[in-house]
Amino acid sequence: MTTRIPARFQKCAAEGRPALVTYTMAGDPDLATAQAILEALPASGADIIELGMPFSDPMADGPGVQAAGQRALAAGQTMRKTLAMVEAFRRKDQDTPIVLMGYYNPIYIFGIDAFLAAAKAAGVDGLIVVDLPPEEDDELCLPALKAGINFIRLATPTTDDARLPAVLANTSGFVYYVSMTGITGASIKNHDAVGAAVTRIKGHTDLPVVVGFGIKTADDAARMGRDSDGIAVGTAICNAVLGSLENGKATAGTVAAVTTLVAGLSSGVKRAKAAA
């Protein structure tokens, strides 16, 4: 399988730094603004883009991402519109990998085969589906691999050495290490433990390991990027969107609020290895 993901990690590694993986919610705060944010991300320093598929019941997300999803749904976001965002992005950018991230039900209702065909055609490189553990691989993971789309698995502090092989078995693209037992946007309490966990996972796989959950600032990015191949930031970006709104609507400052934050995070990953 060839997606844009391995090439992008190689490029970052050649530059001697971890990749910056940014998460934005499709359709937040409205479709046009979300599209503008998406298209501004690569120039601001995002190496890989996670595009959130909004869901009414995001059980693993904290208030920041929950609210972003609710804004998107209130603005009328649908799965078709999310896929169309990727398609439009691809007309301008052929290289930056896009990973769709969310929950299973909207995909299940769209229809597995129809979704995978549409996602591949739109230029999606990978999927992260929070509520599909390896025990449910027949549902989407295996069909996605067959369709040429990476299925990126979450590994967590509760994934011990005995379980890691099962988690890594059908994982491709990269491994997303969840820095804590908790929901998105919570705070990392033990940074050293995260580094040790990344090292442990790398002992089991050649795939790049990205650390996410709880990374908010350039300093966090620099610190967490030391041991990993990439860092993922989501809640901070959703909160930046929120902070730019007036009466719940986008303002002239909304796109800039995101690009400024991402540029700062990018400076963080650039000094991650240098500081090591």
Partner: protein, 406 residues
Amino acid sequence: MTATGANSLRNGPDEQGRFGLYGGRFVAETLMPLILDLEKAYRAAQADPEFQAQIKHLATHYVGRPSPLYFAERLTEHLGGAKVYFKREELNHTGSHKINNTLGQILLAKRMGKTRISAETGAGQHGVATATVCAKFDLPCVVFMGATDVERQYPNVLRMKMLGAEVRPVTAGAGTLKDAMNEALRDWVTNVETTYYLIGTAAGPHPYPEMVRNFQSVIGEEIKAQMRDETGKLPDAVVACVGGGSNAIGTFHAFLDDSSVKLYGAEAGGHGIEVDNGHAASMTGGRPGVLHGNRTYLLQDADGQILEGHSISAGLDYPGVGPEHSYLHDTRRVTYAPITDKEALEAFQLCTKLEGIIPALESAHGLAQLMKVAPTMQKDETIVLCLSGRGDKDVESVGRYLGMNS
């Protein structure tokens, strides 16, 4: 004896936790190792005579089992059809069937060495039953409850607090059971090492649907034995209300292979099944999807977003249903039918006036279904309702609906 051959409907779930298409383990990786541990611990407990003896002892001396089977004479006369019996689960300690499950699970939590209990609740009956066993077994307890439900079931909030539980109102969404369950799952992901999540209904990821069903199956087993003593035969029909469906599956399970026994589940029809998002009848008005760890019938829009639903009854106000019910719906072994708010209120009043029993609004849905079926049956036939809870918690809100508070 009941057949348990290859064609038995009582064999589910399979090793993947599936009842046909339904069930499964659709949870975040953080929870997956714990769910596998839970299954192991539950299998060990099932095989341990000491565990079974503990449950039996507490059921007798703490809960008050067996609960009586009561011949509702005036209601039978009023309906003019089959003889009507109530399985009096509302007489259990804490006032509903919920304690059957919380006792079993708290003993399991103890065996697993967990030090903190969390739960979600709709009507508050499960919250009270959880707070009760936490008081008895000296474990800290956090109950997540939708803010709307906190308001409409306030007596139960006070009971939980007095029992020492912390009640966390959930304001997300419509502030009902679905939102409480989301928040309970977020809490569990955060506190997975210490916390036992004590699910109140026969839903969620495997092994919860199976485990909760087994703890509740005592209801149907007792009905079977009590009817044999009373009439010398099986009942002709059995009725229960279905939200998540724990009292219903506990009532039905013993009868699944007895094909002469007709089984009826009453879903929450709210303002009417034809009203968009105005009901909580997931099987009559929804379609299969994945939420809260399992695949099951769900109320959802064309894009797979979950709807809030509506019911006058906080305990039935949930957009999903336990996966085994979805399976029994597809196989048509159980007939699921919607009961409107209005029909439930009428049944609530009739039961109160004719039998001197104030039923929970949830159970009143089952009664309304019984009131449709019993008159079509012969006078020498019998029909049993699982009277799953008492209505003390509902008197304030029913009084308001009936204009009695002014």
